[in-house]
């Protein structure tokens, strides 16, 4: 059962032809944008000579920093009047990255998500409770429109408010939920604490896990908790959002929709192509988007690809779970955080000393961020209430920047461990 049989089971030859047509169009669009016009000129690239996926290597990759530097319109290839929506990355230092969509971009994205949902068995008669946050973040709206496109009744409940989530699950008998994996485990415990059984008192049979890398073990725990199938997916706002790659019923790798993206998996240091099974960075080129074409985007996400054809019959490349990040950015409760953001906040507070340490851990299925902050001896004010106020101030300023609340602990100067004189900034004890 396919949403679009022809495209999902396309032969390698036909896919190649389709990709080349779309790449050509994409390069023409890119040439309309200030960023790529300049890049092509500087790198002496004639876009009309880039014809195949292999030719892509002549184009320098685009990074997150490039997207930021292009703020606000550096990557826009259509008149602004054609744009009907923008999405922007949240929780990053300084300038945000912005992705513009035309009406037809949104229609294609919705189709991409609808296809993904259909692939894991969501149908028109399903009731879909979307527990992802709405807004600039693409997770909520992206999945929302895909589910509507598919025809499922969609409950745009958004993230959090567990009591209300449980109420809706109970009264509308939701069959499909879209949820962050750590929250799924937390929610199942909350359901149990209300004297209900997530397996028998509800009708959930498909769980869409997103916005947070997780392990096979976590998936199994979610599945056992709800007595339902849980599916992994991959997406990022620069590449639309959810629906870039999705598992099928076989739950072995995610099909990355190659009619939407050209995918490369490369060694993150030297950018040479990886072999099947070899961990590398995912690099994506949009080939089915008008307003914001992006060429060779360095996702910094690490994965490998499978060579064997999938028994489901879909021919699109299967990638593994995301195994980590090529840089030090970390994902915390679904929010992308750079240690640098935390450093910027801390270093603007005069009472804060030279060192700090971010410790990520997981307790009762919930991610905990502890930030140990050295205080400056000369600015120590002598009283416990003043220290408590300082701690609160640091917490509030961090929350304003990273959108989650860390546990801030004040520590004595010079007590945080260093490694060969270098401070250890981030310790991630979470088991994926």
């Amino acid at each position: 059962m396919y949403w679009e049989k022809e495209i999902e089971t396309i032969s390698p030859e036909e896919l190649k032809t389709l990709q080349q047509e779309r790449l050509k169009l994409t390069l023409q669009r890119a040439a309309q944008t200030p960023f790529y016009r300049k890049l092509f000129a500087q790198a002496k690239i004639k876009p009309e000579l880039i014809k195949t996926k292999e030719d892509l290597q002549f184009i320098p990759p685009t990074t997150k920093e490039d997207l930021r530097s292009g703020f606000p319109f550096g990557f826009l290839s259509v008149p602004l009047t054609e744009v009907v929506r923008l999405h922007s990355s949240s929780g990053t230092t300084g300038t945000p990255t912005v992705i513009y969509h035309t009406a037809s971009d949104l229609a294609r994205w919705s189709n991409q998500v609808a296809r993904s949902l259909f692939t894991v068995g969501v149908r028109k008669n399903d009731i879909f409770q979307n527990m992802m946050s709405y807004g600039l973040f693409t997770g909520g709206l992206g999945m929302h429109y895909g589910a509507e496109r598919l025809g499922a009744m969609t409950i745009p409940i958004g993230a959090g408010n567990s009591k209300r989530q449980i109420w809706f699950l109970k009264h509308f008998k939701s069959t499909v939920i879209h949820i962050i994996p750590s929250y799924a485990l937390l929610l199942s415990n909350l359901i149990k604490s209300e004297g209900l059984d997530p397996k028998t008192d509800f009708n959930v049979n498909i769980i869409l896990l997103g916005a947070e890398p997780h392990s096979e073990g976590t998936r199994k725990r979610v599945e056992q908790a709800f007595g339902a199938k849980a599916y992994n997916s991959y997406g990022l706002s620069e590449m639309n959002g959810p629906g870039v790659a999705f598992e099928c019923g076989y739950q072995t790798g995610m099909h990355l929709w190659e009619d939407y993206y050209l995918v490369e998996i490369v060694n993150p240091k030297i950018l040479t192509p990886c072999q099947p099974g070899e961990l590398g960075e995912i690099i994506l080129t949009t080939i089915n988007r008008e307003a914001t074409p992006i060429l060779r985007y360095r996702t910094k996400d690490l994965a490998f690809y499978y060579q064997e054809p999938c028994p489901c019959g879909r021919t699109h490349l299967r990638i593994s779970r995301i195994q980590g990040r090529a840089d030090d950015m970390f994902i915390f409760r679904g929010v992308n955080i750079f240690p640098n953001q935390i450093e910027t906040v801390l270093m603007n507070i005069p009472e804060v000393g030279a060192n700090y340490r971010i410790i990520l851990s997981r307790e009762d299925y919930r991610d905990i961020m502890r930030i140990e902050v050295e205080i400056k001896p000369e600015l120590f004010a002598g009283e416990l209430p003043k220290l408590e106020r300082l701690r609160e101030r640091i917490t509030n300023e961090l929350r304003a920047e990273i959108l989650v609340t860390p546990q801030v602990v004040l520590v004595e100067p010079g007590t945080l461990p260093t490694q060969e004189g270098k401070a250890i900034r981030l310790i991630d004890k979470r088991k994926l």
Partner: protein, 142 residues
């Protein structure tokens, strides 16, 4: 005027030992100590015979310390002694931020250390009420 030293310290074993060690090595005598803590860190307050020297020593060991004026007042070591002082201050709308005491001679008298907003004002009120306020040399003699 008397002085106390406040020291920032995490709630970890060996913190007090480290501080008292530094003081002992430099022949500084400790008269009283209090510890308050919350959220994994705390403040240790020390009353010593050479506050300025102790303060500088702690700083040179990179220990966050703070030198602070306090009022040291003699209190009768008997029921109602503390109440009498607290009453005088509250009648004059003076809020006690922190207070701790130590006994000089059991059954006879003790010294109360008080931290208030307006130190000189509080001191003169206490003195006018007939109480004896000590300077830091005197604290140590008692």
């Amino acid at each position: 005027m008397a002085y106390q030293i406040s020291v920032f310290a995490e709630n970890k074993p060996g913190r007090i030992e480290k501080i008292t060690g530094i003081l002992a090595q430099n022949q500084i005598n400790l008269r009283a100590i209090t510890i308050s803590s919350a959220n994994g860190f705390g403040v240790i307050k020390l009353l010593v015979d050479q506050p300025q020297k102790a303060y500088e020593l702690l700083h040179s060991h990179d220990i966050p310390a703070y030198l602070q004026e306090v009022i040291a007042v003699i209190m009768e070591d008997q029921p109602g002694g503390l109440h009498k002082i607290a009453k005088i201050l509250s009648q004059n709308q003076i809020n006690i931020e922190d207070a701790y005491g130590f006994v000089v001679k059991t059954g006879e008298r003790s010294v109360l250390i008080i931290q208030v907003e307006s130190q000189p004002h509080a001191q003169s009120i206490l003195e006018r009420s007939g109480l004896r306020v000590l300077n830091d040399e005197e604290i140590y003699q008692y």
